[in-house]
């Protein structure tokens, strides 16, 4: 027996197995990552450009920019800017921003959270679908529409409400009136903002309520609880911090609103705590108001105001998102 070695066919070349991504994947990842990082780039650029343009104002005004309430751009006869006598301070408008946002939250949040509870736990499916669509649609309404509606429609009713508030609650300092002008007041602008934040606060609250663990809900019912008892024992504790986040997102929206406030509110550059009186403003609407006839020097001060507004809304929004995202995790 001859044992002949059968010549084995040539082995294929050894395949190198590697976890290193292919060239195409590396290109893909680089492109996608740079696309993803563009949000960082844009936010960074906004910060950089506003800071660069507003820097002079910050340097000249110092802390007064945040604490004083005078806005004077003095230009001498020769057209040169009189730096020493020009004063820029946005305290009045900062306070106005906070007042408006506060009214919006005070009025808008109970309505939104109540609506979210109704939609999640009470509404029959058919009604729920229509209402959710309507409220989502409202989120897409342009702000100029809210402004016009507030000016022509809400104004009429709201003036009457303002008079009632003044009549019965005039002893509260906020509702005092030194002159009988209740039209175009922070109260009415605040109501418009309240309506504008309803969609976002409702949709976030609804999302959080709908994540309430079903077993806990059924446990509450099984123990014989009414629907309200279930809500109080299960849904509210579960959703509380998430709703706080949603409220802060609404607050951020209300602080940055420009056109609606500009349309409805009588913008006067002064600190006005009397919310029924026809004077007020917020930083965003003030920027729009002054922008038209501002000298390049004044525009720098407006850029500085924009930076303050940007940082303010960024802080509020970041806190809000942090709170909302934490709730979502703890529940699962």
């Amino acid at each position: 027996m001859s044992s002949q070695l059968i010549e084995s066919p040539a082995l294929p070349e050894k395949r190198v197995i590697t976890t290193r991504p292919r060239f195409s994947d590396r290109v893909f990842r680089a492109v996608v990552t740079s696309g993803g990082l563009s949000s960082l780039l844009i936010l960074g650029l906004i910060l950089a450009f506003l800071l660069y343009n507003g820097f002079d104002t910050f340097r000249q005004q110092g802390l007064h920019f945040l604490t004083s309430s005078s806005w004077q751009a003095v230009v001498s006869d020769s057209g040169k800017v009189d730096v020493a006598n020009s004063h820029f301070g946005i305290a009045a408008m900062l306070i106005g921003t906070l007042i408006l946002a506060f009214i919006a939250v005070l009025v808008g949040v109970p309505i939104s959270v109540g609506a979210a509870i109704y939609l999640t736990f009470y509404a029959p499916d058919s009604i729920k679908k229509i209402m959710v669509t309507a409220i989502d649609l409202m989120a897409a309404f342009p702000s100029v529409l809210f402004g016009l509606w507030g000016f022509f429609v809400l104004e009429g009713s709201a003036e009457y409400w303002a008079k009632l508030l003044h009549k019965y609650f005039g002893w509260i300092p906020f509702f005092r009136l030194d002159a009988p002008y209740v039209n175009r007041s922070p109260f009415i602008a605040g109501l418009v903002l309240a309506i504008m934040i309803i969609p976002i606060v409702t949709s976030i609250s609804r999302e959080i309520f709908s994540q309430t663990p079903l077993d806990r809900i059924q446990a509450a019912y099984a123990l014989g609880g009414t629907r309200f008892a279930m809500l109080r024992a299960v849904a509210f504790p579960y959703a509380r911090s998430g709703i706080v986040g949603g409220v802060m997102l609404g607050l951020g929206r209300a602080m940055g609103e420009t056109v609606a406030v500009y349309t409805v509110l009588n913008i006067v550059y002064q600190v006005n705590w009397h919310i029924l009186f026809s004077a007020g403003g917020n930083v965003a609407s003030m920027i729009l108001l002054k922008f038209g006839e501002a000298s390049p020097y004044e525009i720098k001060a407006l850029m500085a105001s924009g930076l303050v507004l940007f940082i303010l809304t960024l802080i509020v929004n970041s806190l809000a998102n942090l709170i909302v995202s934490r709730t979502g995790k703890s529940g699962r």
């Binding site: 991504p21 990842r29 996608v32 506003l50 609506a115 309404f141 022509f152």
Partner: protein, 353 residues
């Protein structure tokens, strides 16, 4: 085989559904609350729509509370009180929507006429009779602004979403956070930024593309977040199938994942457009408001619907105000049409074509 007459079937009763007696109760409570509100308005000095609503509201809650208290005790009474409150809340949330839609139609349709869509405002002023002049220039302008904003923001938004769902590198958390922070940037700040970054140092004048850039900044977060939600819904099996067949990640994303999510991504795009189509503040700073048609995004003042509405509103005469409402009616119809399209597409099953 004998004929068995069918046993009459009892209709199943649901213990939680309302019995006729419950319905009667509810009806009586509602009717007496309405009567009471009319009576109080007639007798006391309280007047106006607000009085009707307030008294009806209070009367309804009280009566409902008493009825359930008598019928089923305190917990049930509190429960019905709370139900009344949240029902009022949803009513309060929906009332402005209805009021806005009705107002826009009632005030806007008077300004509608055929030549509105065939002429522009080149040779008319806002205070002219409503039948003169039109909004072609504004529609063209809005269309161009939005298209350019879309061209800029959609790739960035979708790439961001792909990074967040497909690559999930070490920047995932920070980018997710930044995108959310970006969605809160006030529109006037976006306008100021483009003004400072482009208009002052480079162009020194208004033009369309600057407006589109500002709109793109506002649009990116909406597109990115909606796309992310959509891509999350694509089952992991699909990705793994792509990889198991030997595809690279690039191929499996481009050939499997993105096509599966196509309708969802289009929805994201449309929602982004709906979000910025009516944006006014940055437009006022950056694009100008020409009354003539301008097809060139890179030079010359560019009219747009929000700008048209704003200018007519500022002009203030009755004719101009009618123009403003007609403009906003057209704008709103566009927004609602976009929204409805997005809804229809978004309701489709993910992965279906």
């Amino acid at each position: 085989m004998s004929n068995i007459s069918p046993v009459p079937q009892a209709t199943p009763r649901k213990p939680w559904s309302a019995t006729p007696r419950d319905r009667l109760n509810t009806g009586l409570v509602l009717a007496s609350a309405i009567l009471l509100s009319f009576a109080v308005v007639a007798v006391t000095p309280l007047k106006g729509k607000l009085a009707y609503f307030a008294i009806f509201f209070l009367a309804y809650l009280t009566l409902e509370f008493i009825v359930s208290f008598v019928k089923a005790g305190r917990p049930a009474a509190v429960d019905s009180l709370f139900k009344g409150l949240v029902t009022m809340a949803i009513a309060a949330a929906v009332t402005p929507i209805v009021s806005i839609l009705v107002t826009v139609w009632i005030r806007g349709h008077k300004g509608l006429h055929l030549s509105l869509f065939t002429t522009d405002m080149r040779s008319n002023s806002f205070t002219d009779p409503v039948s003169q002049g039109g909004i072609v220039h504004a529609i063209v302008g809005t269309f161009l602004l939005v298209i350019f904003a879309m061209v800029i923001s959609v790739p960035i938004g979708i790439l961001t979403a792909i990074y967040l769902t497909e690559i999930r590198g070490r920047f995932t958390r920070p980018i997710e956070f930044l995108v959310q922070a970006m969605s809160g940037v006030p529109s006037i700040v976006a306008g100021l930024f483009i003004y400072a970054a482009i208009l002052v140092p480079l162009t020194k004048t208004v033009n369309g593309i600057q407006g589109s850039l500002a709109l793109a900044i506002l649009m990116i977060p909406t597109v990115a977040r909606t796309s992310q939600e959509v891509l999350k819904l694509i089952p992991g099996d699909l990705r793994e199938a792509g990889l198991a067949l030997g595809g690279t990640q690039w191929r499996s994303v481009a050939i499997v994942v993105v096509p599966a999510a196509r309708s969802g991504l289009i929805t994201a795009m449309i929602l982004g457009v709906a979000r910025v189509a009516g944006e006014t503040a940055p437009i006022l700073l950056l694009t100008g408001g020409s009354g003539a048609k301008n097809y060139n995004m890179f030079s010359g003042s560019m009219g747009s619907l929000p700008n048209y509405v704003w200018q007519s509103f500022s002009a203030g005469t009755p004719e101009a105000i009618t123009r403003a409402w007609a403009g906003i009616l057209v704008l709103l119809v566009i927004v609602i049409a976009l929204f409805a399209t997005a809804r229809t597409l978004g309701n489709r099953k993910v992965g279906a074509n």
